[in-house]
């Protein structure tokens, strides 16, 4: 059982010092950033390890929690993601298709939409919606549970807080971002075509979809799955890290929530950047 004991070691890292002389402002900031990064990475690895090692444990209890998180971060966000997909379809897909057609470059419609909507905006928008609508509230929930001593109560009952609280959120967010991304892409393309059609685009729906299908490579599908999974898991881990990894007071939960949103936005953009060489090489 790695989580229960490892959880303490992550918390204990807060109190470790290097025993060096008092650093200057820049050095202390750099060391602070390094410590935070080290703690976060350690927490992430412990949580992922606990998910693997304890995958068969208490499934009757953890399974429904996973389903609940998937529903909370997935179907319940379908309206807002559908709205964003439709808006993007009208604002970008429809106008781009019409514009490219008017300059005689309709052969670029497929590659452009695949690059912008399927590879980039789909996963990013879905990940950010999950973060904003569910991630932020989850930090508050977990932070309150930590501040009110519920995490210690779980430990006292022999329930690994990482297994019980973190695993459902990470799995739920991972699956939900993947599903929402697919939904977002479909809505964006359909509404985009509908908008372009109303503007008099002389392309059939089959030809429009055919353009996109031709621009898609087989590698797009596994990479899209991996990217959405990484976005979801990263968001879930950051949310749980800020919520329960360290002792927190009730008045500090607001700051932790803001920190979570900032970390996730920057982190998702950096992760997104890591995929660009893969798309270019493959």
């Amino acid at each position: 059982l790695p989580g229960l004991a490892a959880f303490h070691s992550v918390v204990a890292m807060d109190t470790t010092t290097l025993g060096l002389p008092a650093p200057g402002f820049v050095a202390s900031k750099v060391y602070g950033l390094w410590s935070s990064l080290r703690r976060a990475v350690a927490f992430g690895l412990i949580a992922l390890g606990a998910m693997v090692v304890q995958r068969r444990k208490a499934r009757a209890v953890v399974g429904p929690l996973v389903v609940e998180e998937v529903f909370r971060a997935g179907p319940r966000l379908a309206p807002i993601v559908g709205f964003l997909g439709a808006a993007l379809g009208v604002l970008f897909v429809g106008q781009t298709a019409a514009l490219l057609d008017s300059v005689g470059a309709s052969n670029l419609t497929g590659p452009l939409l695949v690059t912008v909507v399927i590879r980039e905006l789909g996963p990013l928008v879905s990940g950010l919606v999950v973060l904003a609508r569910v991630g932020a509230s989850s930090v508050i929930e977990l932070g309150a549970a930590r501040a009110m001593g519920e995490v210690e109560a779980l430990e006292a009952l022999g329930i690994d807080p990482i297994h019980y609280l973190v695993t459902p959120k990470v799995i739920g967010f991972t699956l939900a971002v993947g599903c929402l991304t697919t939904y977002f892409i479909v809505i964006a393309i359909l509404s985009g075509y509908a908008f372009a059609f109303t503007r008099g685009l002389p392309v059939t729906f089959e030809a429009f979809v055919g353009e996109i299908a031709r621009a898609l490579d087989w590698i797009d599908f596994p990479l899209l799955m991996i990217k959405t999974a990484v976005f979801g898991a990263f968001t879930g881990l950051v949310v749980c890290y800020h919520g329960i990894a360290r002792p927190i007071r009730l008045e500090a939960i607001g700051g932790a929530t803001a920190g979570t949103v900032a970390t996730c936005v920057v982190g998702c953009l950096l992760i997104d950047g890591c995929f660009i060489p893969l798309y270019l090489l493959l």
């Binding site: 444990k57 209890v61 549970a145």
Partner: protein
């Protein structure tokens, strides 16, 4: 003499490694069937001591053994070990606020036996009845008064049938009726409760007042920065010349 469950060897407990210990140099052993009442003034370190004895906090110094061994770490034995120790926290017992009282009580059973929560709820019905929580079972913890919340926390700790139960300040915030129910339950636990198959449960309680526990407690201890002191039976406590004990008794009389 029965086998020791918890043994303290020169243990100091406190909240911070950088500050002075709240209770220094504790040599203490809790044996099977004991019913210890740890008393002391406010902020004397009773809660910290109980959490340390329950293995939820590391001591500042010294060694603690449970059933003759240090706390296991990092494997399934740690979970099995943890299930043998029950802990009821102070305040409102740290119930899970997103669950009803009944779900709070059923959760540990559902988790460790890998059964659905609904099945565990059926199993804990006798426990809910034994703790007089039938009318509160469907309520959320935020809607309970403090005394009922503490009874629910005791029931939750009993759900796994631990071998030793630590209860931090059982009467905190309870009205006289709830205090009487709680005292009767703890008395039954010490003598042998049907939920535990009639086996007397080893208990360690912390209490700011001594008097309510004279009839139930079998051993007593005073936690204080000046030094840990134990009393083998109620008579020794009652006849003690210890100034802290006198002070605590006189405070009870004032109340």
């Amino acid at each position: 003499v029965s086998a020791p469950i918890v043994e303290f060897f020169a243990v100091s407990v406190g909240n911070s490694r950088h500050g002075a210990p709240l209770v220094p140099d504790i040599d203490w052993s809790v044996h099977e069937g004991d019913c210890w009442v740890v008393t002391g003034s406010q902020e004397s370190g009773k809660s910290t001591l109980l959490q340390t004895a329950a293995g939820l906090r590391a001591p500042l110094s010294g060694q603690i053994l449970w059933w003759g061994d240090p706390a296991p770490a990092g494997d399934a034995r740690a979970v099995a070990w943890r299930r043998r120790i029950g802990m009821v926290f102070d305040g409102e017992g740290r119930l899970f606020r997103s669950m009803s009282v009944a779900e709070n009580i059923a959760l540990p059973l559902a988790y460790h036996e890998n059964i659905p929560l609904a099945a565990a709820l059926e199993k804990v019905k006798p426990l809910i009845a034994a703790c007089h929580l039938e009318s509160e079972a469907g309520r959320m913890p935020g809607r309970l008064n403090r005394g009922a919340a503490r009874m629910a926390a005791i029931a939750r700790a009993m759900a796994l049938k631990p071998e030793i139960l630590f209860i931090d300040d059982p009467f905190a915030g309870a009205d006289p009726v709830q205090s009487r129910i709680c005292r009767r339950l703890i008395g039954d636990l010490a003598k042998g409760h049907p939920w535990f198959g009639g086996r007397p449960l080893t208990l360690v309680l912390s209490a700011a007042s001594i008097r309510p526990w004279i009839e139930i407690g079998r051993q007593f201890a005073v936690a204080r920065a000046a030094g840990w002191r134990t009393f083998a039976d109620p008579d020794e406590l009652m006849t003690s010349e210890d100034t802290t004990v006198h002070k605590l008794f006189s405070m009870d009389s004032d109340d």
